[in-house]
Amino acid sequence: FFGRATIDADMLDHLEELLIGADLGVEVTERFLRDLKPCVERKEVSDLVSLKKKLKKFMVSILEKERSEMPFSVSPKVTLFVGVNGVGKTTTIGKRAQKLKEEGGRIVLAAGDTFRAGAGEQLALWGERVGVEVIRHRPGADPAAVAFDAVSAGLARKSDHVLIDTAGRLQTKNNLMAELKKMVRVLEKAMPGAPHEKILVLDATTGQNALSQAKLFNEAIGITGIILTKLDGTGRGGIVIPIVETLSVPVTDIGVGEGADDLIPFHVESFVDALFE
């Protein structure tokens, strides 16, 4: 394949295992390894270290391509958080609220998960911890109504941000995806242009199914950003590479723990370096 003594089959196998092991997936891994071939033939790379460097370049160019810094001067800015069950949506909202509060913002949280046991209480506790108001209805209430109320409250109080929590849902459940679409329509009624951000929360321990999650959530409501959680664990989250490539949507932040300060901006270079560890 490469025809050089220094770059041999073992080296390629090692790289393949590295990338597959980081959940990049077979398709992207094989494509990257194929794309290395001309670099080797042109003698741009000659050993494992330079092969890895080249691979990192491929990844960085995919991940950096989509960084769109939208200067949002709308008020309140409404952000909807969606994703499958247990990925860290509620916790991420708490963390984001903490960050925005530190920056001096006025924030309203919406307890849009009216289904799961303890969901409202969980967000209420986060609201208490951070010191921001939480709009909550009783369990079983219409989630879109909670979202509507929260945006109305945000408009009335001249808040800077409304962060909306939603119930976890598998992307293949049409009725639940329809509920999400309805929430987006209702938000548009509450405030034209809302929700200004639609964040898909992905768990770094998730494998290839994250592709299906990204595809179907995007088809349903249009995703504007991705937050990747639990990167303090051993999941590498390499799946965001094919996701960012196909969705053309940036990863904005990463979750690195369960505390209020454990949400940090996504840094492409450090993320790619970590994939190779």
Partner: protein, 292 residues
């Protein structure tokens, strides 16, 4: 799908003969691809393929079976063997209460599964006590209490106790004292690389001596499933696995990875968010979705 791919590979082989290394290579590449796309760990996939190759090479192409079918048959057999038997549910201890402890990563579905198990045992006429051993996640105790209320199953109140190990030990005492048949312990989600929290689990185990330590794993877990399961198993000695969120389109290859590093039987699968959504494990159904 995989069967069609294998069939087309083997169409080229006509008549009787042996399954050779060469014609098997191509087929095994397709199988390996299917496993990796299904989130099976690459090492697990590799050793699985080698196992199939050993059993396939040099075999007579059996009368009436297309060579492709024969390889598929071997793959199927090996996969089912790896998955383990079906219907291995939870046996009740001869000395009640049976103590069942649920462990796993953050968000895998433990608390909900505690509720599901409680509902199942209650419907079998057993008296169940739930112990809220997660004192760290906001409203985790409240979540379990809400589930318990809905089932009319008591949940032990941790009170002002700050130490989950002590709460778990109190749970055992209360379970014995009040004659419960089953006590189910919820624990906080934790990373297997968090040494302090893994040590806490080991402390809990020695404090309560559970009959079952069930690893609750998310069906969509990727390559890291091997590392996670191995560590939980090394530290605790898992007696069973529950795979959650299986009703979606995740292929569930993590299950193969978890099985191969723990050898623990799959006790149940979670098939939804409601407390009734707990089903016994069918290895053949799981095998077909992993193979795609």
């Amino acid at each position: 799908n995989l069967t069609k791919k294998l069939d087309s590979i083997f169409k080229k082989i006509r008549g009787k003969g042996l399954l050779t290394d060469k014609n098997i290579d191509e087929a095994l590449r397709e199988v390996r691809l299917a496993l990796l796309e299904a989130d099976v760990h690459f090492k697990v996939a590799k050793s699985f393929i080698e196992g199939v190759r050993e059993k396939a090479v040099g075999k007579e192409i059996l009368e009436g079976l297309a060579p492709g079918q024969q390889v598929v048959k071997i793959v199927w057999k090996e996969l089912s063997r790896l998955m383990g038997e079906e219907g291995k549910t939870i046996a009740l201890s001869s000395q009640p209460p049976t103590l069942i402890m649920l462990v796993g990563l953050q968000g895998s579905g433990k608390t909900t599964t505690v509720g599901k198990l409680a509902r199942r045992f209650k419907r079998e006429g057993k008296r169940v006590l739930l112990v809220a051993g997660d004192l760290q996640r906001p409203a985790a105790v409240s979540q379990l209490q809400t589930l318990g209320k809905g089932l009319d199953v008591p949940v032990m109140d941790p009170g002002t106790n700050k130490d989950p190990v002590i709460v778990m030990e109190k749970g055992v005492k209360q379970g014995r004292k009040e004659g419960f048949d089953v006590v189910i312990f919820d624990t906080a989600g934790r990373l297997q690389v968090d040494e302090a929290l893994m040590a806490e689990l080991v402390q809990m185990k020695s404090g309560i001596s559970p009959d079952e330590i069930l690893f609750v794993a998310d069906a969509m877990t990727g390559q890291t499933a091997v590392d996670v399961a191995r560590k939980f198993h090394e530290d605790l000695g898992l007696t069973g696995i529950i795979l959650t969120k299986t009703e979606g389109d995740a292929r569930g290859g993590a299950l193969l990875s978890i099985r191969s590093v723990t050898g623990a039987p799959i006790k149940f699968i979670g098939t939804g968010e409601k407390l009734e959504d707990l089903e016994p494990f069918h290895p053949d159904r799981m095998a077909s979705r992993i193979l795609g």
